[in-house]
């Protein structure tokens, strides 16, 4: 009788331990990164911003030149105004109006171009970060990597689960990867 009870208790113990191990193993390994910190500290994003700044400066420089030309044309017209006949005035005003329209059109096109480029550049960086985080999580065995945003999709998480710094370090290292070279 005692023997049977002993076997039964042992059986229950083994099942309990197995159940605990199973439960422990099946809990997903969840981590989180601070999305904004990760993206804005990423070297790829800094380079992208520099590139965007360069494009904006080029556009602004062209715009300044066109504005200066238009301003000069207006000044010349004002200076010549007393000497001009009615027909000449109409002709010059037409030209000025055309120049102003061109300037406005260029400004609008430039704005659209900058917006499109900005979206394209940002999307490229986000794709780089997403692809890297996916690979990194697989390598480290994380089941879920959450991204916190300022709108507060995660209200609380232990600091130990924050992997922003380690992901950022690996991400920046990966950004400038050198080819493998066999050391002899």
């Amino acid at each position: 009788m005692k023997n049977k009870l002993f076997i039964l208790l042992n059986g229950i113990l083994v099942i309990s331990v197995a159940f605990c191990i199973y439960k422990t193993m099946s809990i997903p390994d969840v981590r989180y990164v601070k999305s904004a910190d990760l993206i804005y500290s990423y070297e790829g994003m800094k380079d992208a911003q520099k590139k965007q700044e360069k494009v904006m400066n080029e556009v602004q420089s062209n715009l300044d030149t066109l504005q200066l030309d238009f301003q000069k044309a207006v000044n010349n017209y004002n200076q010549d105004f007393p000497k001009l006949s009615k027909d000449e005035r109409i002709e010059r005003e037409k030209l000025l109006s055309l120049q102003q329209n061109n300037l406005q059109q260029y400004s609008k096109n430039a704005e659209d171009k900058i917006k499109t480029k900005d979206e394209q550049i940002t999307q490229g960086v986000l794709n780089q970060v997403n692809s890297f985080v996916e690979e990194y999580a697989k390598k480290k065995g994380y089941d879920i990597v959450l991204g916190t945003t300022t709108s507060g999709n995660i209200l609380f998480a232990r600091e130990q689960m924050d992997i922003t710094d380690e992901v950022l370090k690996a991400l920046n290292e990966n950004y400038k990867t050198e080819a493998n070279t066999v050391e002899e």
Partner: protein
Amino acid sequence: MKSALWKTCFFCLLIIFCSSCGKEISTLSEFNSFVSDSENGLKVSKSVNGVLISVIYTPPEYISLKEMELHGFKGKEKYDSLLNNNKASASFLMIFGPDESKGNKDDIMYTGLKNFKEYVERAMTLNFDLEQQITLSTEENDYLPVLSSLENTYGLSKDRKINIVFTSLKEQKNLKEAMKYDFIYSDETYDVGILHFEFDKEKIEENLPEINFQ
């Protein structure tokens, strides 16, 4: 007797080991395999957004051997003359392909496209505008490509290969003196952002195989 046998075996193994250390090639296909093996430091690949982009540095030695085979030239003298010319430039092979491990099985020309207009833009960019999106940066200067040519595959491959050549301008330091190459691709086609492909030219040159002309 036993000792002599052991000594003979040891020397045989030593000879085999030593002969495998010094790399020597005699054909272009052997050089192709060497260049395409990422362990040799001439190939860097990056995968973003289901697109796999590889850049292979094709050293002047490889280009010279390729020219030798193409024109049917023979002998070390001709090779040295070609090598001397080719050392003034740096050539790369850029490969765009779908990353099948990420579930992208499309031809890279059609990956992520929404309409025909986008296809035309992509085809135009890869054929004619890629030079504006690539820079080769060294310790002292930035170089722009002087040549970029897309190899047509006629639908036989999902990848696209583009040959890119850089050369130094008069006021720039000669490319052959550079120790490191940073091939920068500022993408405007596949939403993969700015990608750096770095090559340690000094180490690559140390590890290049000898060419056997016999």
